[in-house]
């Protein structure tokens, strides 16, 4: 059971109040892209063992999308940040590196 804090309304709730939206920070490759780029955008995910960056939606609450860093092994939630950020906030990054000193984002 994950405990997530929505960065928009500040409410900390367990995961049944949210909906997962898959990997975060995907770069869209649309019309005109090469087949390889489009395939990567549609199908290929990092799926790492360890810290992952994910999209979540506070679907039963304020309805807004946000991003979260959590660990796919320990289920520890390192932090959440608004979906408008292109990278995890420094606070979230520090929190991840406290557990994984050599961690770098997949972005």
């Amino acid at each position: 059971m994950l405990l997530l804090t929505c960065p928009h309304c500040g409410i900390a709730a367990e995961e049944t109040e949210f909906n997962p939206g898959g990997e975060a920070h995907l770069k869209r490759h649309g019309p005109g892209a090469s087949d390889e780029d489009f395939e990567g955008y549609l199908f290929l995910r990092h799926n790492v063992k360890g810290p992952v960056l994910e999209r979540w939606r506070h679907s039963y609450g304020c309805g807004k999308w946000f991003l979260a860093a959590r660990d796919s092994v320990t289920l520890q939630v390192y932090g959440t940040y608004p979906a408008s950020l292109a990278h995890p906030s420094d606070e979230v990054g520090d929190s991840v590196r406290a557990a994984h000193p050599n961690w770098r984002t997949q972005i």
Binding site: H8, C9, T16, E17
Partner: protein
Amino acid sequence: MAEMTALARVTRVEGLGMVTIRADLDRAGDAIAGASGLPLPGRVGIVAEGDRALGWMSPDELLLMLPHAELADALTDLREALRGEASLVADVSDMRCVFDLTGEDADQVLAKLSPTDLEMFPPGALRRTRLAQVPAAFWRIPGGFRLIAFRSVEVYLRELLETAAAPGTWLDPR
């Protein structure tokens, strides 16, 4: 043996007008406060004065609740105040059902149904969350809670609340 009573009473509230207001609250907050006659609630808050209440629903959405008779005037005032803003003022009175859950153990009824820490839920806070399988919102009123949910799940919600409030189902250890 003393007769056991329900944990809380479930009462349907009728005649409440509701207006959804969507706008950039930083820009249009003062205009909304002026037109609705209530101060703007803070994040996840609700302000109630007299028979009106203004609740914070999301970073760009407010819900104004007022007696149905005052609805038409309120819609006109709000639309006038938000002229020129990218905004929405919609009468959603028929969209939701309203229940009052009152009684000493109303907290326990909601604790059974929602992932909300009611110990950390003071008066003046509005919580949009989940009651079993349906989305709902609630806030404290004198003697209990007021709940809103979509009208399409009204029957489900009533039965849910009455079941969770069934006599003898206290959460306290015996």
